[in-house]
Amino acid sequence: MDKYKQYEVNDFLRDESFINWVLNPGAPANQSWTVWMKANPDKREAAQKAIDMIRSLDFKKETVAEEFYVNLKQRIDRTIATAQPAPAKIRSFTGRWIKAAAVVAGLLTGAAVLYYVRKPSYTYISTPYAAIKTAWLPDSTEVVLNANSSVRYSKSRFGGIREVLITGEVFFKVRHIENDGKALPFKVHAENAEIEVLGTEFNVKSINHFTTVMLREGKVRFSIPGAHSETIMQPNDYCYYDAAQGKIITRVAKPGLFTAWMDHKYRFENTTVKEVCETLQAYYGYDFIVRNDSLGKQTFSGTLELKNEQVMLSVLGELFKTKITKEGNQIIIE
């Protein structure tokens, strides 16, 4: 490192390895500078000036709410899942409108920033359409997310209170944890429903404002806090809240029907065509349109493989004994 003995402030300022060392003094690759500085006290003043200057070049960061990054990622996921790369929105407003829009956007952003700065930060796990993902929470609880679903929890609070928020459909294998001989509770929030568990396996589906729970093992409390109703579920129970009757309905179900999606399949038993279409719509994100009203009410039993969309559609056509066509984002069933 002999040439450095001739260095003036500006030479230091232009030296890549010197800059890297100032920006990241701890990195092993930059250690030779730490050594050199000790060995060359006469150059310390010039080097210090350069260091001060580089350190002063700390630039202002615009405030961007964490929510922005989460929403942007979901938007990217959606675009990729539908495989129709949408070009950036083309703005064809006149100047006046842009100004007006900018003012409104500014106000909204300000409000959003104020709002989110006060909220604790969350960790998101999410899936695009037509994809299934397995993930683990910090307590090693296993979660399997069906398509277009998400799990959200507060990282900082999760150690004390095990609480998650979900959308879509998620299967849980809750890890049993004991604290002073007491089981640590685990809570799932889905829309207006709350599920409290003590180490168990269950499936939650929350689509179109309608939440259902299927319990495979263990015991859970299913409650609708807003309606003051709750029930304790037993294995193989299937529960949902019937808003019209204002109470929770419990039925005994075959767990396999509700968890087949984890093997990229849907199993149906005497399910109406309308419900089948709703389920597929939630998975693929397409609009399923049934042209024939009477077909919509017929029931259907069978298994659909989800991985290959074209195969799935042709199987569906055979089962419904009708023609199915795909047009853009719509699946049309004659």
Binding site: N10, L72, P87
Partner: protein
């Protein structure tokens, strides 16, 4: 420190992420997104102080990256590659906005790069530091967008000159010169200019 410059560990990690992404690993894609999205957003806002517009550009960059994952051929650091992709998209966006003003395509002279020092903190009690800060602030006003961008990418984001030159379609030499001039202005203001140092000398490579 809020800065997140490159280190060699991170470079290896990025290279393996790209390998995974090429083989269709969506989780690796998500990791890459989460790693750089904040820095990229900050960089984008320097060009266009309009978050929805920057969002559209970032969206296009990442969608493009995934759609073309099998063809990815990255010669610089991955971080630099992402910065370059965003820069190109942002300039296209700006160009579309300015179409009415008869800009020739590829004209980069007209872009802006808004650079301000971070708001003063309590740590700056030292008088000498305060002086340096004030001087940098006044000098920043006199620099061109390109000079500010080079300073930002080199001293703040920690990209190397070669990558910066490639990103900005400059030769490495031109990049050094641009830098040299910026430093000259900075330095002349800082040390009460006893020396008017000649920066035209060949860059040390």
């Amino acid at each position: 420190m809020t800065r997140t410059p490159l280190d060699s560990n991170s470079t290896h990690e990025d290279a393996s992420l790209i390998v995974q992404i090429r083989s269709g690993d969506y989780d690796a894609f998500t990791l890459l997104y989460n790693k750089y999205i904040r820095q990229l957003t900050q960089y984008g806002l320097k060009f266009i102080p309009d978050l929805p517009a920057v969002e559209d550009c970032l969206h296009d960059v990442f969608v493009w990256l995934w759609a073309n994952r099998q063809k990815l051929n990255i010669h610089s650091s991955v971080k630099s590659y992402l910065f370059k992709s965003l820069r190109t998209t942002l300039l296209h966006w700006l160009h579309r906005q300015d179409r009415l003003q008869t800009l020739t395509p590829g004209d980069e002279q007209s872009y802006r790069f808004e650079l301000q020092l971070t708001p003063e903190t309590l740590f700056l009690h030292n008088e000498q530091h305060r002086q340096i800060r004030q001087q940098i602030e006044s000098v920043l006003l006199t620099l061109t967008a390109k000079q500010k961008e080079v300073i930002y990418l080199r001293y703040y984001e920690g990209l190397n000159f070669e990558d910066i030159a490639r990103n900005m379609n400059l030769s490495v030499k031109a990049c050094y010169k641009l830098m040299g001039r910026a430093i000259a202005v900075l330095r002349d203001n800082m040390v009460c200019s006893i020396l008017f140092v000649i920066y035209c000398c060949q860059p040390v490579l």
